[in-house]
Subunit: 313 residues, 2 copies
Amino acid sequence: MINETIQLYPDRPGVTLTTYLLADSPELLNGKKRPAVLVCPGGAYLNCSDREAEPVALRFAGMGYHAFVLRYSIYTLDHPEFNLVNATDMVINPHSTYPSPMRDIGKAFLTIHEHADQWLVDTDKIAVCGFSAGAHNCAMYAVYWHNPVITDYFGAPVSQFKPAAAILAYGIGDFHLMVKPYSNAMLQAVASAANFAYLGTRNPSAELLDTVSPARQVTASTPPTFLWATAADVLVPVENTTRLATALAHAGVPFEVHIFEEGAHGLSLADPSTAGSQQDINPDAAQWIRLAEAWLRKRFLLPILEKPAWMQD
Amino acid sequence: MINETIQLYPDRPGVTLTTYLLADSPELLNGKKRPAVLVCPGGAYLNCSDREAEPVALRFAGMGYHAFVLRYSIYTLDHPEFNLVNATDMVINPHSTYPSPMRDIGKAFLTIHEHADQWLVDTDKIAVCGFSAGAHNCAMYAVYWHNPVITDYFGAPVSQFKPAAAILAYGIGDFHLMVKPYSNAMLQAVASAANFAYLGTRNPSAELLDTVSPARQVTASTPPTFLWATAADVLVPVENTTRLATALAHAGVPFEVHIFEEGAHGLSLADPSTAGSQQDINPDAAQWIRLAEAWLRKRFLLPILEKPAWMQD
């Protein structure tokens, strides 16, 4: 395995791509390239959660895919003094506001393409997998990857940005749902801070909300998408997922959805490998990663020989 | 993750312990130690197969356990000229003959104990997991770990060698079964070479075969053991597994056995992540790793808080 952390911009130590590159072997793919999954943790555009980072990458690596964790631009990288208690003092952070975080995914794609021969990555088969705000970031990338907001910004060919699939866990699909008041003060504080971190305003226009709502931007160029969520999520309402699914259906994009009735926001893999407490363990929701594996396998076949090498003609 | 390869003896570059140490985080176990699984690949004491190494370690890492791959002493490390064609020219290799390979597991245990505080390994919960010859090596260690052949050799306290569990995949349990003639010339060639590499003689005594047969050496000090195999295995007859299970039952050692009707020898995880060809994929047998996970979870609970840290009293 090559496990290293690459800083994506010389002047910004917190924005990194960590590799989990599987060792090749004559006994395995013998020099042939593998698909890869790029994991974007959640954390309300305020943090990147460790619970949705390395353990998830290892699960995809266990499937035989190269994996990456992208720690994209978030508010606290530039404002480490941030705390929910002083959240009313937030200032606009051009790194955490739209479209910066989704451009970080573009930068990660360019980096992976650049190293593809060395790392043995099949660049036609790179999936993005995000959680919560990370799922929003991935969904934004999935709808904007071919748009000048990304391609012109980097001045690179559109082919270098193309994601093959998106896997979205309890993500924000429609930002109009996120600016409604919460009855719970803690949830309100988190949502308000997250919204300011990403939108850069306390009073977003309907146009801005449309722009940052993947469910309102899906086209036929959006890659096949796997979505899961819990109906009981009180932080990111499950309609974020159903609305995005509706948009994918309308656009004719292949997709799969699994909504579990119970379970809080932020379960990650919902098993002991990602649990900060027993409340993060939910055997029903934990089925999602196997469902995602089966779904991904349909389009991310490994280039495995039909017969052993010594039996070939 | 800390992924590094440690040479176990200064003068022997091929005998190595590779770490797959999970990153700790305040969001995860927050400084508490984790169980670990030490993986021993198979390869007839002639090689260590990559198909039974890193991909398996990653699967255990995905469960939330630290993982290690041990490349123990095998014949070809000292005799790289070996080929099945010239197998009749083999000479005795004191590194690959009993008891050297099982002592390498002891050396790995000492190394893990030495770094346990730095690596956050719970040394009361280290399992060994082996495949084929690697399963034999693990089974030998499981029956001899407290014996002077290991403890006196290293002059270290017996507590530093104690394995908490053994997971054995299509392993050799009774060497008397391995010296019988095969009807297939290729299998005979592999078995003869493997036997010479490990026994150091073409004519082993019944006493030597008894000594190297875990099924004949099980005691109440043997750790809980999970065994799996395929009934159709033509290289290592499945009676190796049933005889070892019988011995564990007789000694009152907790154990679990899964024997799948079909499937060749050497399936590893039996899924695309470890397949050298499509013949290495077997959905029935592939269930073993989840059965092993459930079995291991009963004794390798992660120290996860009941409630989130911020909700503690």
